[in-house]
């Protein structure tokens, strides 16, 4: 699905140039959830934005479904951390979810049905007519996820999506991501600073080094499926994995 080959990114030019990402390579297979963890400021967001086509690719290559990424590819969706600034406050929830669908050549009926479907998926069918300001943080992030789902992307990119919500809501939203993958077959690349979250969600975890970021290690997460917030997080395998990752990051 996604192939990142020796990708590097430098900020600025000349004397002020700063190498943010140093020849990172990895792949994400269809239907996988891959989590990227690393210390603060290591370049995780830059990497994600580059995959999304939002940053120009200086060195290396990124391939999505076999096609090289030049500019923004047509079949991926991004969920940002700051949901309140990503949603349009003047539109209703339903209008927000529908917004990216309008230029895609769908009929009104099709668009409306996708919107209803996506909202039902995230459990917000009752909130379709409300405005984002009337919703809690967790609900707003659900709208953001619904918007991504309605778009039916091949790959969903998530940039620290649950960093701004409280712990309870975070647990619910994490389970929502798992559900999205298992029921809709979505491929997810998720960036997070929360080690526990990365182990809980991922099939594989990519550990990045501090800036300039390189891939320190790729860990396969062999935890049983379906995952459970209490049982899985309490298991020995889980603890072992998160300790390993914490060690890798702190090095």
């Amino acid at each position: 699905m996604l192939d990142v080959i020796e990708f590097s990114h430098t900020y600025g030019t000349g004397t002020k140039a700063h190498l943010a990402i140093d020849e990172v390579s990895f792949r994400v297979d269809a239907g996988e959830i891959v989590c990227v963890v690393g210390p603060s400021g290591c370049g995780k967001t830059t990497l994600l934005k580059s995959v999304a086509g939002l940053h120009r690719i200086d060195k290396g290559e990124i391939h999505l479904r076999g096609n090289e990424v030049r500019g923004v590819p047509g079949d991926l969706a991004v969920v940002f951390q700051d949901y309140s600034r990503s949603l349009l406050p003047w539109k209703t929830v339903a209008a927000n979810v529908e917004f990216p669908l309008r230029d895609r050549g769908l009929s009104t009926v099709e668009r409306r049905s996708r919107v209803a479907e996506a909202l039902a998926w995230v459990g917000l069918d009752a909130a379709a007519g409300k405005h984002p300001a009337e919703l809690s943080g967790g609900m707003q992030q659900r709208v953001s996820i619904a918007r991504a789902l309605a778009y039916r992307p091949a790959l969903m990119l998530m940039d620290e999506p649950f960093a701004s919500v409280d712990a309870q809501t975070r647990a619910d939203l994490e389970d929502l991501v798992l559900k999205v993958r298992s029921s809709a077959g979505m491929t997810v690349l998720l960036v997070t600073h929360d080690i526990d979250e990365s182990v809980y969600l991922a099939d594989r975890v990519l550990v990045l080094s501090p800036s300039p970021a390189t891939v320190v290690e790729t860990l396969k997460v062999d935890l049983p499926s379906p995952r459970d917030q209490i049982a899985t997080r309490g298991s020995d395998a889980f603890v072992h994995l998160r300790t390993e990752i914490a060690r890798l990051i702190r090095r």
Binding site: W90, P100, A133, L157
Partner: protein, 267 residues
């Protein structure tokens, strides 16, 4: 409870206004100067001029047609043109910073020019009449909404920009569905100011370049020492300004309901 406090506020305002008028009435009566008629005399004159019609027409008499309607027409036309051009140009400049840089010095100069000084220029270019007045109104009142539109377009959240790019939203839709609404609070603030300017310029342009309208009437009355009419005209301008501003604020409140509730929640 809420409705009560609004009512109290309303009463307070107009009570103070009433007191103001009473003091004015007393001061004018005491000084007894032809140049300063009492509010009562002004209202009577206004009634004579414009409100002598039948009840079915809201008491509006024929005077309204020659005096008030042409002015309002010019005001509305001038303000509308200035607003549309200002918003379109402002958003374009806000979205293309390079253009704004190049235009910066020229625009800074133009907006500092006292519009009255351009009246002779416009008179020469357009001669007496409505086009000259429209030109004066548009040129003088475009700046607040232009500057505010630039500011509004510039202040669109980069996260919204990233989201729109990630979802490959088309350029036109981006401008109409995201930039314009995002900039609308600042644009409305500019519109309120440019309405005030447009009113002033309408009057000023009629002082010199017109044969009808409120401004003409004021200057004509002043020339014939008919101070009651002059004051009636001034009062009319004041009332017009007040009413139009209130109307605009009402429209703004409806259009920006989403913005106010967001701020309420944050506050």
């Amino acid at each position: 409870m809420f409705a009560n406090s609004k009512l109290i506020a309303f009463v307070q305002r107009w009570l103070v206004f009433a007191i103001f008028v009473l003091i004015w009435q007393w001061a004018a009566t005491v000084t007894n100067n032809v140049v300063f008629p009492t509010p009562l005399a002004i209202v009577r004159k206004a009634q004579q001029l414009w409100l002598d019609g039948p009840p079915s027409r809201l008491f509006l008499g024929s005077g309204v047609n020659t005096d008030i309607l042409p002015s309002i027409g010019r005001l509305a036309g001038g303000w509308a043109i200035a607003s549309v051009v200002g918003i379109v140009l402002g958003i374009a400049l806000g979205l293309v910073p390079v253009l704004a840089d190049y235009a910066g010095a020229v625009l800074a100069f133009m907006r500092a020019v006292p519009p009255v000084m351009l009246v002779p220029v416009f008179l020469v270019l357009f001669h007496i009449g409505t086009p000259m007045q429209l030109a004066t109104i548009v040129f003088g009142s475009i700046w607040p909404v232009l500057l505010n539109s630039v500011d509004g377009a510039r202040s669109v959240d980069p996260i919204k920009a990233d989201t729109a790019r990630a979802y490959r939203i088309g350029r036109l839709r981006w401008i109409v569905s995201v930039v314009l609404p995002a900039a609308s609070p600042k644009i409305f603030a500019g519109l309120r100011i440019n309405l005030a300017f447009a009113l002033i310029l309408m009057v000023v342009s009629e002082l010199v370049g017109s044969a009808d309208g409120v401004g003409y009437q004021i200057t004509n009355a002043e020339g014939t020492f008919d101070y009651r009419t002059m004051w009636a005209g001034i009062a009319l301008v004041s009332v017009l300004g007040f009413v139009l501003n209130r109307l605009l604020v009402a429209v703004e409140n409806r259009a920006l309901a989403w913005h106010h509730s967001t701020r309420l929640l944050e506050g």
